[in-house]
Symmetry: C2
Subunit: 86 residues, 2 copies
């Protein structure tokens, strides 16, 4: 029972950490202002998330694959804005 | 052999996504400028990471616990700056 609860805690945790990048992406798309965002953070983060996607794919871990694929799309779009707008 | 490689890929992925918050935290501490950072992102992300810490603790998953504990310290310090400097 406690493990079942923890599975839900893990699922909610994964959803929250993934969708958290959506408001930042929307803000960045709208304002086109990225001065306060760290380029090093999003370069390093996107590279890490790509490795999570590869890990999820090759270990047949669908939740890890899907959550990180969605995170990558959002984080990469923020990275592109940062490179474009500086 | 392939699974062993994937374990290393997962470890590097975890280290990268965790330490990526360090350059953002340093930038935020130094500039005290957080206009372009989304409050909703860091609220949502910190809550998700707290749930990952709880998940790692109760499932006795030390890598998940440690990686997310470190991520929380960094992300929460950025959230505090965002609330303080707006």
């Amino acid at each position: 029972m406690e493990m079942e609860l923890m599975t839900y805690v893990g699922l909610v945790a994964g959803v929250l950490t993934t969708i958290s990048f959506l408001p930042q992406a929307i803000k960045t798309w709208q304002t086109k202002s990225t001065k306060d965002i760290s380029l090093a953070m999003f370069l390093c983060f996107c590279l890490g998330v790509v490795l999570w996607v590869i890990y999820g794919f090759y270990t047949h871990n669908l939740p890890v694959f899907l959550a990180n694929f969605a995170t990558f799309v959002l984080a990469f779009s923020i990275l592109v804005c940062k490179i474009k707008y500086g």
